[in-house]
């Protein structure tokens, strides 16, 4: 008698429907090749500024190896309160409205789990960061994608939201500037979205991890719109603007009751963010402004360089106003985004990510990260022009 079961049968049902990230598939193909110029990397190409790293080393030297309070070091929370007040115009009490998390990813997971009951619908905009849909599913919520379109500059409109909202909708997730489109919202946009959230009694989770990397546009946050604080969870972190991806440190700002709800999960699952990362984050906020400015200027210059490359190669591209991604349209080539990325890799050894990895409406686009050395961008664009010319 053979009654052995496949290990797969032990996996929880809700997980089986979640596909592997398209990025992971593509990574496996790229990693078999040598000397690839990669425009596929979703993190800064800068090493964390030395004074920030050094503050972690100093803390380690002095024996900072313990847990911290569940909410995180109060000194860091105070710095964050000041930073969010001056940088985003939103006021939070560091004692009970701010929590330090292991990257924004943890904060996002906590926020969703704290808010969503099984069957609740969560609106999020696509194309988007790969984890948004799955994180909602993991919390037994129902992900409802709202398309953003090139014609609208990939901004989120109230009309698009109204078309997808229902009586079951509980949460709206925002991520501007957006990975992968580089789109930002203006003041009018956030006010309209705020009015929509209030009209439908939704909680807004706003992931503003790329906000420091906003170029010409004015930086606006929905958290600062009057009447929004009580229904907003503001998420941010240090990975992108301070080039601290490996430190894994982010934070959430939310009304006390919501912070408390998130903290319940955090204290039983993560306990606290690593103390050395928190020490580094204090240094980043207190003395890192010039570094951020320098890196932002560098990304902006490279954005201009890569946009010129797309124009030379005949690919239309919305000008990214934030983050470090460009999202050119490749639909006119007749190739799917996956075929374009694979063929380009095959022919020219340049990696970019198929737009379809970021949601169905990303089809027809590729994501190119310009957090890449100038020389590599130049060379990649020469190859891109040759590639599109050959199609």
């Amino acid at each position: 008698m053979n009654d052995s079961k496949s290990p797969r049968s032990y996996v929880a049902n809700y997980l089986k429907g979640v596909p592997r990230s398209g990025i992971r598939d593509f990574f496996e193909i790229v990693s078999t090749r040598k000397d690839v110029i990669s425009l596929g990397i979703g993190e800064p190409d800068f090493v964390t500024p030395w004074h920030i790293r050094e503050s972690s080393v100093y803390a380690l030297d002095h024996g900072a190896t313990s847990y911290t309070a569940n909410l995180g070091l109060i000194e860091l929370r105070r710095s964050i309160a000041k930073y969010v007040r001056t940088g985003y115009g939103a006021d939070y009490n560091p004692v009970n409205e701010i929590m330090i998390t292991v990257g924004v990813s943890e904060a996002l997971d906590l926020a969703i789990r704290a808010l969503v009951s099984p069957g609740d619908e969560v609106l999020y905009h696509e194309p988007c960061y790969v984890s948004y849909g799955p994180v909602i599913t993991f919390a037994h919520g129902v992900p409802v994608a709202v398309e953003t379109r090139r014609e609208d500059g990939f901004r989120l409109t109230r009309a698009a939201l109204e078309a997808k909202v229902s009586s079951k909708t509980k949460v709206l997730m925002l991520n501007f500037p957006t990975n992968p489109t580089g789109a930002v919202l203006n003041q009018q946009d956030v006010e309209e979205i705020a009015a929509f959230a209030i009209a439908h009694d939704l909680v807004v989770i706003t992931d503003e991890i790329y906000a420091e990397l906003t170029y010409e546009a004015e930086r606006v946050s929905i958290a600062a719109v009057p009447g929004m604080k009580e229904r907003t969870i503001f998420l941010n972190g240090f990975s992108k603007a301070w080039a601290m991806t490996g430190f894994r440190v982010g934070f959430s700002c939310a009304p006390q009751e919501l912070t408390e709800a998130m903290m319940k999960i955090h204290q039983y699952t993560m306990l606290c963010a690593p103390i050395l990362a928190q020490k580094a984050a204090i240094e980043a906020l207190e003395n890192g402004d010039a570094d951020v400015r320098k890196m932002r200027d560098s990304y902006r210059r490279r954005r201009n360089l890569i946009l010129d490359g797309f124009a030379q190669a005949g690919l239309p591209c919305q000008k990214p106003e934030g983050a470090f991604y460009a999202f050119p349209y490749i639909g006119d080539t007749g190739l799917s985004s996956k075929a374009f990325a694979l063929n380009f890799l095959e022919a020219e050894n340049v990696a970019c990510v198929p737009g379809s990895a970021f949601g169905a409406c990303g089809e027809g686009f590729i994501r190119c990260a310009y957090a890449t050395a100038e020389d590599d961008i130049r060379e990649a664009m020469v190859r891109l022009k040759r590639f599109t010319g050959s199609l």
Binding site: S21, I23, F26, F27, V30, S31, V36, S38, G40, I41, G42, E43, D45, V47, Y129, V130, S131, N179, D297, R301, R302, N304, L305, D308, A351, V353, A357, E374, R378
Partner: protein, 159 residues
């Protein structure tokens, strides 16, 4: 610092065309600004930054503290300029503290630097004394680390 200068300081070989694209300015305007910086002496020149230890393992560099007698009217300027004219001299700074000039000298080997100090520098009228410190190893020069700190450990594709 002006962004144009930042770009050139980081890599003076960046093509003007690319600088123009990056700064979203016409190429002719960028060219004119570079010419202006050159004319006003803000840009003093362009040179390759060498790791001299690799070019010539015998190469030496010394920091020399020079004590001297200032002159009426000109202070230290005349003698400092005279010292600065020697091709062996890389840099000359007037310092506060226990000595007056800090002079960086480079040479093919220890002997050439020693003879420069003995025969040229110490014999100048007004120079009271010198103290020579030879460098043993260069870790960072002109803001550039001589050894790459680390390789790029990022995944080739990530979300």
């Amino acid at each position: 610092m002006d962004e144009l200068l930042q770009i050139l300081k980081r890599d003076a070989r960046t093509p003007l065309k690319d600088i123009a694209i990056m700064l979203a300015q016409p190429e002719a305007a960028v060219q004119a600004r570079v010419a202006d910086y050159e004319a006003t002496g803000i840009i003093r020149g362009y040179q390759a930054l060498l790791n001299e230890e690799l070019v010539n393992p015998e190469h030496v560099r010394a920091a020399i503290e020079v004590r001297m007698t200032p002159e009426r009217g000109g202070g230290y300027d005349r003698i400092a300029t005279r010292i600065a004219r020697f091709p062996e001299v890389e840099s000359v700074f007037l310092m506060s503290g226990g000595y007056d000039l800090l002079v960086y000298v480079k040479g093919e080997n220890l002997r050439t630097v020693a003879s420069f100090v003995n025969e040229r520098l110490a014999t100048i009228d007004g120079v009271l004394s010198t103290a020579t410190h030879f460098t043993l190893k260069t870790y960072k020069d002109q803001g550039v680390l001589m050894k790459e700190e680390q390789t790029d450990e990022r995944l080739q594709v990530s979300p």
